[in-house]
Symmetry: C2
């Protein structure tokens, strides 16, 4: 992506973007639930069809259907907010083949050996909005994008230190020293591959949705185990945490209009055209009105962490670029997340103002060095969409995990049981567990990844 591309795509003077999706050329993306739920008991009647309003069961994989590392999974559809469950999930083995270089003579030709070279595992949650299509495409596509990205650099991943040149050729004798001084490690290549895979997947979704005349977007939270490390890549407001006997550690942070306020205001400062004169980029404690004119009120601009006062002018009465508090905060009055995949066609209602320029598809990646952890029997990673975290804090989830696992050591299905129990705790059925007994009406999907069973679990796709 170049700045020129950005300007042509989003700014006035470029070719006019189509205000509505063009006539479909391919068939729409069919709705489905995750593949690994097929044959699960509680869901036979609704396996691949939309929710029936009268029933809102918690669904998990069938007993005997093992996910990678014997991970657990459960999901629940929202309380009639949308016809479909807009969450999607995927997991499986990640098989990375080696691209071997030929002999010196034909170095510019790569000989692709189809044999498996490195293997990892992959778990992903996608929380859709504006329809289920983007999340389904992401669940179908992102792991392939990641595999391709990793295969393109696998030669660099298997040496102690990534080589300056992927070919291993040393143009400068001190090349390894330059790489050393920059502190570039193998995990930086995996981080780079995850960043590129998210962006590529976003482009695929944009093309597919345009071709099928559909719309929508989704968040993406991905965990990848590779070479003894767990990489957690997040774009959106899902969350992953590590729960151990004596520790709760966040493995991701949320990207919302509030947490990315400065980046978003900065873009509106650089390209005011993006607001089309309809929004103000300034933040105020509430939307201003006529009575505030001429008063000095609290405000914040893109370069400010603190707050100051400004004299209210007429342009300050416009609708704010970022409006609302906490879970209610919206970008351009429309979207609750600031990173994710899709949303290429999304516009502010009844205008031509686009959301996409303000959204990032690139994830933030954190690395958990599992091999260094001195793993204990019940160390798990909990990944869940925002519906869970709206109602349960990290500490509450950790308490539920610690209260459930020790008493259920013999049950091979216990990690899905745990996922199911976590979801039940958000439905007001176990009021005592959540303290305030809050209820979530959102779609919720949960993976429970047991770190200690990584050598026992089988894989499925």
């Amino acid at each position: 992506m170049s700045a020129g591309w950005f300007r042509r795509r989003f700014l006035p003077g470029g070719p006019l973007p189509a205000p509505r999706p063009p006539r479909p050329r391919t068939s729409p993306v069919p709705y489905r639930r995750p593949r690994f739920l097929r044959g699960s008991g509680s869901c036979s009647s609704t396996a691949d069809s939309p929710r029936r309003p009268e029933a809102r069961p918690v669904r998990c994989p069938a007993r005997g259907r093992a996910l990678p590392w014997n991970a657990g999974y459960a999901e629940i559809i929202n309380a009639e907010k949308s016809e479909f469950n807009e969450d999607q999930a995927a997991c499986g083995k990640l098989c990375i083949r080696r691209c071997e270089f030929g002999t010196e003579e034909d170095q510019e030709w790569l000989t692709l050996c189809p044999e498996e070279f490195l293997t990892g595992h992959y778990w992903a949650l996608f929380d859709g909005h504006g329809g289920p299509a983007a999340a389904i495409l992401a669940a179908n596509t992102l792991h392939s994008c990641l595999r391709q990205q990793l295969e393109a650099i696998v030669e660099g991943m298997v040496t102690t230190q990534p080589p300056m040149h992927l070919s291993g050729r040393c143009v400068c004798p001190s090349d390894p020293q330059f790489v050393e001084e920059k502190g570039i490690r193998t995990e930086d290549l995996v981080i780079g591959a995850l960043e590129s895979a998210f962006q590529e997947c976003d482009e695929v979704i944009g093309r597919e949705l345009e071709a099928s005349g559909q719309v929508g977007g989704c968040t993406a939270l991905v965990a990848v185990s590779l070479q003894g490390k767990l990489y957690v890549a997040n774009a959106g407001d899902s969350r992953a945490i590590l729960v151990r006997r004596d520790e709760v550690r966040p493995l991701s942070s949320e990207f919302t209009p509030e947490t990315e306020r400065q980046r978003i205001q900065q873009l509106a400062f650089v390209y005011p055209e993006l607001l089309a004169g309809e929004f103000t980029r300034l933040e105020f404690p509430r939307r201003l009105k006529g009575d505030d004119l001429g008063q000095k009120v609290l405000f914040r601009d893109h370069h400010m962490s603190g707050w100051s006062y400004k004299c209210v002018e007429k342009s300050d009465l416009k609708y704010p670029l970022i409006h609302g508090q906490g879970r209610q905060a919206r970008l351009l009055g429309t979207l609750a997340v600031s990173r994710g995949l899709g949303d290429h066609q999304l516009r502010v209602l009844d205008t031509d103002i686009q959301l996409k320029p303000f959204l990032l598809s690139v994830p933030q990646v954190t690395v958990l060095d599992v091999d260094q952890l001195e793993l204990q029997e019940e160390d798990v990673v909990i990944m869940a969409t925002d519906g869970l975290w709206d109602v349960l804090s990290n500490e509450q989830v950790a308490r539920l995990v610690r209260s459930f696992l020790p008493g259920n050591r013999e049950d091979p299905h216990r990690f899905s049981e745990l996922a199911q129990m976590l979801i039940h705790s958000t439905q007001g059925k176990d009021g005592s567990l959540t303290g305030e007994g809050q209820v979530s009406y959102d779609d919720i999907s949960v993976f429970v990844i047991p770190l200690n069973s990584q050598h026992q679990g089988s894989s499925s796709h």
Copy 2:
């Protein structure tokens, strides 16, 4: 500052910026050392004149000259890198007057009562480059900018919670609730005032240097005590740390082309014109050359935290936007810091490529809640320019502090003695203390602020 202003000022098509400073209209900023060094013993002969090469003494305030909170100070000039000591320092009492509102009838008129209302204390270090002028102007100006900013909002600072309207008028009954929900506290107003003061000071320096036909810039590190809190605002590569018996806590982080790589690359992505086709915004482990053409080499772009490989094209052989490692890292081959004041005229040697658009004058502010600390006898904040930290780690400084203070409790001048001792430790005179016995050839200035003597110290300006 508006985006339009930015485009007119820095992008082609706007009025041509003057490539060289215009003919001076005012007299140049005279060189001087900090005012509080006047009359100090070790410096009587060189008090306000440039360094004499034969002597490189460590200077500190005269015994009996108390700085705010009985703080200590010491400085040393660089080893013939420049004619002048380009560091500057300032400290003093901050007297904030109240702007009282009149009666209901003439609410739009402010009655300025000249009486002192709130008092704080202020310590500041400025590390100049390209000449001493910017640092001297900053030392003369920044505290006034800050006082003005604070006086403009002092009505909002003295209530438990900042009011939505500075006048205290409640336009909406739930205004206090909106402010509460945004989590806006009094300290956010002080942070906002510091951010605005740095920017205003930057503008003053720009005007003054243009008028006097001088050039240069400086970093700025400021500590302000106010209402029981210590605010540390930093723009540049100086550093402040808190040293306690059992704790070393960084109170600032450094802003260099390396630490701000993504912001700087992002700007070059948005406005490629700023590089005038002479630089590449991409980061490589080393500068590329002809032999690298067509090879796949490690690189990083603005949206990447990780690394990836790209096939080298001709444009990748250009000089990198950010080049070099660690202390050697330079922005556009020219500048080692990415935030600070001044540098309005700075250009890449023999080109019209400006540095200023890539520099931020806004500081990062951290807040130390001194009243909550359970202060111990020897809790101090150490502020110093980068020359100290090039040679001593936070932990080494903490060890030196802890080894010095307990044995010198009776000496009222001991905090300046400590500052002096820290500087001596960078001169290879106490090799055993620094471990590797590294030597600093840079200007160094150090404040030692004893947190426990805040009610004992007198103030001076």
